[in-house]
Symmetry: C2
Subunit: 311 residues, 2 copies
Amino acid sequence: MARSRIGVVGGTGAVGQVTLGLLREHGYDDVQVFASARSAGREIDGRRVVEATAEALENADVDIFLFSVGTSASRELVPHAVRGGAVAVDKSSAYRLEPGIPLVVPEVNGGRALENDGIIANPNCCAIPLTCVLKPLHDEAGLARVRVATYQSMSGAGAKSMQRLRETDHDDLDLLMEWDFDGDEFDEEAKLRDETRKILELPDLAIQATCVRVPVMVGHAEAIWVETEEPLSPERATAILGASPSVRLEQFPSPGKARDIDDVLVGRIRRDPTVGNGLALFLASDNLRKGAALNAIQIAELVLAAERAAA
Amino acid sequence: MARSRIGVVGGTGAVGQVTLGLLREHGYDDVQVFASARSAGREIDGRRVVEATAEALENADVDIFLFSVGTSASRELVPHAVRGGAVAVDKSSAYRLEPGIPLVVPEVNGGRALENDGIIANPNCCAIPLTCVLKPLHDEAGLARVRVATYQSMSGAGAKSMQRLRETDHDDLDLLMEWDFDGDEFDEEAKLRDETRKILELPDLAIQATCVRVPVMVGHAEAIWVETEEPLSPERATAILGASPSVRLEQFPSPGKARDIDDVLVGRIRRDPTVGNGLALFLASDNLRKGAALNAIQIAELVLAAERAAA
């Protein structure tokens, strides 16, 4: 596994840097780093950064590319990266909702990763932990209705936003809502709804999100109300979630507690007394790890394992 | 009105200081400041702070006391303050749910303020803006169900918590959940539910809250889902809220935008597509002003106006 050739595109960004750290932790040493012209030539993680041109990606000796660049850069570069036979796991929203392109959270719909034609999309950083928690509840009792209010950290908006938070006076810390707005909802809210539906393969799932960015550096949290088709007690939901992959029970999950942790922390699991089959819960997850870099590496490992099994 | 004698108890705390500033803005000049022994003798707002002993409060020449001290201090001192005939508006949770004691948001149930036996309770800083928004919606379409996720600022936990935030490194900013926990919910969540029911005079209102403190200095926000008995379009809800007292429409309300503003900011008013009669909305309010000091002064003004009318 450690001899797989990995290309990290966008290696100097917030997610890219976590990706490089996690690849080292996971024992990968054949890693090439690509980034924009601005960063090309720099050394990062002991590796010289190569400019991510169409030509460089097409001709690279790479089995799997992990992309964490902006949506327009992904649209431009991903097709070149896969032209030579490599697989690209793309973190941007460019391909997530495209029919035929798998949108994968390994614990939820990992099998879909193997149905790729070269491109696999890595979901939104709130959709990943949300589906990790919703999937086991759906399997047990059927999801009828989901409402989510998010507490998203600045790192979800990239390294520049983290720097902006560092430079903000404590008295001026505020909630931010700076996503594209269509007059009714933020594109972030549409992503969370549409991607959750696609990952869970529930195209008509009744779900609404209210997205808010909070002045926290790393880690996203979500207050969730779930209604199920069948009765599901908080005790049973707790037992199910405690036994679910990549989910860890925690009394009061917070971004700080989730930071540098692979698992999604979930707690505050209690009855929603306002309806018959209602539960309230709260999750926190490291948006740079499980919400981004780690999920991409787990997708890559599914693909690499399947390739080895087929060889 | 400016000749009414006001006693501010807890004048050196986060709410107390805003109270003194607002009293000045509102033209009150006969203001006495009481606080704990630790602060007695200090000068604040040009006035010498008097120790808030039972005796000092009983013998003070004061028409209305505005209390913003802890619950146990309120329990001890408020009965003395009202013994001499003064009215006490108490910000603590000591008396809020006590039968016969009015719990008042002037725009929502102001008439109840006049039914006092000396003590009027000032609600929780999240319940005040919530009821300002829910009351007009209830009058129009009947509330069936309410869910709230809060984004509460550090000042809601007092001046020491504000100092603690100021001393927190930007990389360590986190969500906090430090209220008393009964194994199922925080006392803050119980307050928000029970006080909202009492203020709206809907003892069986189906309502659940998830309370979270965010690293913001001043201003509370709330993501709200409301279901109504009768259909209520987002357009009609927007028109109603725009015409409601102490409510101001704002596209993206945030604590920063609400700071130093008297009105509750409300926006993101949209359909909740997961149910028949559902709305989602988002509010922000200055928890030290409308959420505390301003609401208390407005209650005091109701009482003073009634006394003048009766005189």
